[in-house]
């Protein structure tokens, strides 16, 4: 998958997250789709695979944990990055057990998430 654009799906029920993140990541050359409703994101991953998924944990409807579990079941190679404002040790541990790539507490800097994404991308390209 050397020259292919890396694809990223963003899921967060707070619209501001996608609004800020999507253009910033596109500016870096990624292909980005973003969702504020977990049902929509769920439907989208039924259609295609993303290289990287960035998701919040606590949302209405389908919970972020449920969503990332589904993603990892379906596409074990997809790297999942969790972003959440309610970071507890328990949730962090649980999501790492599900095989996520990294965990970021909100609020975070654009630079922080782009560097996490860059290392996830590097890992994908290695494999």
């Amino acid at each position: 998958m050397s020259d292919k654009q890396t694809s990223i799906l963003i899921l967060d029920d707070e619209p501001i997250v996608s609004k800020r993140l999507q253009p910033a990541l596109e500016k870096k050359g990624y292909e980005v789709e973003s969702f504020t409703r977990s049902a929509d994101a769920m439907a989208r991953i039924a259609e295609r695979q993303f290289d990287i998924v960035v998701t919040d944990l606590k949302m209405e409807g389908v919970d972020g944990m449920e969503f990332l579990t589904r993603v990892k079941e379906q596409f074990p190679k997809t790297e999942v990055i969790v972003i959440t404002g309610f970071a507890t040790m328990a949730t962090a541990k649980e999501s790492f057990n599900k095989g996520i790539f990294d965990f970021l507490a909100k609020p975070f800097k654009l630079g922080e998430i782009t560097s996490v994404i860059a290392s996830a991308e590097a890992k994908i390209k290695e494999s």
Partner: protein, 855 residues
């Protein structure tokens, strides 16, 4: 005499307090300092989130408010513990602020001002929630950018609320809206009913009076030939940000004095047209944000009017500006009812006219005396003449670019030309560009291989954005007064004094600087891209060189990068997001500092209007209290304290709270025993030779120090009398208080390897000479301290200076400077016989500082 009694009273009171061990009280004091720093850090961090560099959500805003509320409450508990419940009134002010904050978090908009009317001279962007964007912008164009604007005033959102409440409109409107949302009635009917309710409302008496008074005030200041009627226009919250609102609201022209209240209602009613109601439904607008301020402007009897676009909205890539104009008043031009002359100008300097189409203009709308506007036939000879002269086109192009630089977006500017041929700006708002294919972020990849990169990958963004302009090097390219419009300011330090050119600067770059400093805050307020901590920007960049700064990617390009500018023009402004607006609003209850002068009338618990005020008040009182207590306790044999034994007779009591003094000090403390680094540096500055050589009547240092610090002959010293000069020190901390007759100096400094914790606070006031000399001394202090990057406030002859978050070496250098100044300023008010002296002394201090650098 009263003073003396008061002092005795203080001594007795201190004795009573002595039952609580000093160490316990000092623990309270230290805790208060810790909380103070924590609170100020949190406030600074919250402001930092406005830079655009962070992703945060509403949850974050709630969390930060809750944390601050808890910390400030704890601080108030502590100061009351330290002072025996002396400041329990602080809880009252605290609760008021807390309640307001809760309301803002629920979405309520608090009115930054209570007045119904604000004249343009008093309006700035800080009032945007009170006066709306249109008023705030036009007022700034007049006051900050020095362009001609119509005389006018804003009718505030506080007035709107008063009208709304008096007529109980909230219930009426929400009932009608509910029916509309349930689809029981259509939007047309809903809009009509709400508008009727508004038009049938009664303008509160006080508001009506205020409007008339403000208008009369303007009329009285006009010459005989001025038109004495008004244009009444909307200035709704958020109106300027959103393209689709533009032109939706009502404007009433040529309104006479007595008709102003009626016109006011007509403009308010346009807040509920069917189009606007539909639009708001689809946008990120909360019901609480639907409010309208109104602009009242004296009519300009325009001979010609028009609209300027600083970009071609359909083909922005052509780098041109567009002007449409015609004879007479502007209304038919704006609404496209009359044919207009069309000019296309190049954006680049010179602004050559690249296309021009002059139409035949049969009629124009003119102001015929008060209250009457009419369509009149245009004079035959003017019909085919261009409605703008070349010189006016050039002037407009210049103004357009200035406005664009200032507001950071392409502008849509309405203007008029008066009978003298002068250009008057009527309003300026963001111009929304259209594109067949809007630029996409991914088009920007690979820019660094296309354009020469001067700096990349270093530094921190204090404000996100893209700026293009010539480099202007601080210190090398002249005074800040000479800073050119649209320049990019490059400086060694992100010093607070740079903020004075904020309305001219396209961007800021510094070698050293923090995103939580004053300059960063101001850059965010004015949305000026700022990149700090580039380490060697002042050596890598060249004066006058055109550069493009992209703070999001931490990159500086040589020359212009059209793709970036282009992309930025299309980006959605941060302000369109509710979270940013909310954060700005909560910060207004948290961040502003109103308590400057501890001797000021408002320096009371009741005077505290923000969390910052409360924190400042407590800090001041904590320092004051601990000093009072220390005077007595300093001689208690169990405290780690002693008198400084120095070759200069400085009556200074040192209290060590950890690692500030080494070895035995039964006989007093010698300078060599002081291990407090900040204290050492201060003493070094105070004992600096050389500084006195310039004195025309040579003053030897010992006798000077003696007059400075000696308060009583040593052999008669009683415990109550000594220690009027007191320093509480630790390895990394000094809090020094000189109380000398009429002088009062405070220095509070913490300096360590942890840059984030470093701070210096300096206060100096008092003196025995004439006010003029003391004011000169204050000016000298401000000039010197600002030069060395302190954030200064001068209130009369009192000077307060702050400095934060520089590295240890830079901080120590500045403590040395304070040492110099403390020694120096006492003699200054005697010698400050002429303004010229300020520069003389300033130069002398700079020389000493330079020499010390070499040392």
């Amino acid at each position: 005499m009263r003073n003396l009694l008061h002092q005795f009273g203080q001594i007795f009171r201190r004795k009573e307090q002595s039952t609580v061990p000093f160490k316990v009280l000092f623990a309270d004091f230290k805790k208060s300092l810790e909380l103070n720093n924590l609170i100020l850090d949190l406030i600074a961090d919250a402001n930092d989130k406005l830079s655009g560099d962070y992703i945060f959500d509403e949850q974050y805003i709630h969390t930060i408010c809750r944390q601050l509320t808890d910390l400030v409450r704890e601080l108030i508990v502590i100061i009351n513990h330290l002072t025996g419940q002396k400041y329990s009134d602080l809880f009252l002010s605290f609760h008021h602020i807390e309640e307001d904050l809760e309301a803002v978090l629920r979405g309520k908009i608090l009115f930054p001002v209570k007045q119904f009317i604000l004249p343009y001279a008093e309006v700035s962007r800080a009032h945007i929630d009170a006066v709306g964007g249109k008023n705030a912008h036009i007022a700034e164009i007049g006051s900050l950018l020095n362009r001609k604007i119509p005389a006018g005033f804003a009718i505030t959102t506080a007035a709107f609320m008063a009208f709304w409440e008096e007529n109980k409109l909230e219930g009426t409107v929400s009932e009608i809206k509910k029916q509309w949302h349930k689809k029981e009635i259509g939007v047309q009917v809903a809009a009509e009913r709400i508008q009727q309710a508004i038009l049938a409302g009664v303008v509160p008496r006080q508001l009506e009076q205020d409007i008339i008074n403000a208008a009369v005030d303007i009329i009285n200041r006009q010459g005989d030939d001025a038109a004495l009627c008004f244009a009444v226009r909307s200035s709704a919250l958020g109106e300027d940000d959103v393209a689709s609102f533009a032109g939706q609201y009502r404007s009433c022209l040529s309104i006479t004095l007595s008709n102003l209240p009626k016109a006011y209602l007509e403009v308010l009613a346009s807040l509920y047209t069917p189009e606007v109601m539909e639009y708001r439904l689809n946008k990120d607008f909360r019901p609480e944000e639907i409010m309208m301020a109104v602009a009242c402007q004296l009519m300009v009897p325009a001979t010609a009017s028009g609209v300027l676009y600083t970009h071609d909205p359909v083909h922005p890539e052509t780098e041109s500006m567009i002007i449409n104009s015609a004879w007479g008043l502007g209304e038919p031009i704006v609404s496209g009812e009359v044919p207009t002359d069309h000019f296309v100008l190049e954006r680049k300097a010179g602004h050559a006219v690249t296309a021009m189409a002059i139409v035949r203009k049969e009629e124009s709308l003119v102001l015929r005396g008060c209250g009457a506007i009419d369509n009149q036939p245009v004079r035959e000879d003017q019909r085919t003449e261009p409605s703008l002269k070349n010189q006016q086109l050039q002037e407009l192009a210049g103004i357009g670019l200035q406005l664009e630089k200032y507001f950071k977006r392409p502008q849509d500017v309405e203007f008029a030309v008066d009978h003298l041929g002068e250009v008057i700006i009527l309003q300026s708002r963001q111009l929304h560009l259209q594109h067949k294919r809007p630029p996409r972020a991914c088009d920007l990849t690979g820019l660094s291989s296309k354009y020469p990169v001067l700096v990349s990958g270093v530094g921190i963004a204090a404000m996100e954005g893209v700026a293009t302009g010539p480099v202007w090097m601080m210190g090398r390219d002249g005074d800040l007064d000479d800073f050119p419009m649209g320049g990019i300011l490059v400086a060694r330090y992100a010093s607070p004094q740079l903020a004075q050119v904020i309305h001219k600067a396209a961007g800021f770059i510094s070698d050293i600087g923090s995103t939580t400093g004053h300059l960063a805050t101001v850059a965010r307020e004015f949305r000026v891209p700022a990149l700090f901590n580039l380490e060697n920007a002042t050596t890598v960049l060249t004066s006058g060189e055109e550069i493009t700064l992209d703070t999001e990617c931490l990159t500086v390009y040589k020359g212009t990068v059209p793709e970036l500018n282009y992309y930025t023009l299309h980006e959605e402004p941060i302000e369109e997001m509710y979270e940013y607006r909310l954060l700005r609003r909560v910060l207004k209850k948290i961040e502003p500092l109103n308590l400057f002068d501890p001797s000021g009338d408002n320096f009371t618990p009741k005077g505290c209007k923000t969390y910052h005020d409360l924190t400042r008040f407590v800090h001041e009182k904590a320092v004051e209290t601990i000093i009072d207590i220390s005077f007595y306790h300093a001689h208690h044999r169990n405290t780690q304290a002693g008198q400084l034994v120095w070759e200069y007779p400085l009556d200074l009591i040192l209290i060590d709270v950890g690692g500030g003094i080494e070895g035995e000090h039964e006989e007093g403390i010698r300078p060599g025993q002081i291990s407090s680094v900040p204290m050492q540096e201060l003493l070094r500055g105070m004992s600096c030779p050389g500084i006195w050589d310039m004195s025309p009547s040579k003053v030897d240092f010992s006798s000077f120090m003696s007059s400075l610090t000696r308060t009583a002959p040593t052999r008669y010293t009683r415990p109550e009398d000594v220690g009027r000069n007191l320093a509480v020190i630790s390895a990394e901390y000094v809090n020094i208080n000189f109380r000398l007759g009429y002088h009062f100096t405070v220095i509070d400094a913490y300096i360590s390897e942890r840059v984030l914790d470093n701070h210096i606070y300096f206060r100096f006031s008092g003196g025995v000479t004439t006010t003029t000399r003391r004011l000169r001394r204050a000016r000298l202090l401000v000039e010197v301290l600002s030069h060395y990057d302190f954030l200064c406030e001068a209130h009369g002859d009192m000077v307060v200076a702050r400095l934060k978050r520089m590295d240890k070496k830079s901080m120590l250098k500045r403590l040395f400077l304070l040492g110099l100044l403390v020694g120096f300023t006492r003699q200054l008010d005697v010698k400050m016989i002429h303004d010229v002296k300020i520069q003389e002394y300033f130069d002398q201090i700079k020389i000493i500082m330079e020499e010390d650098n070499v040392r």
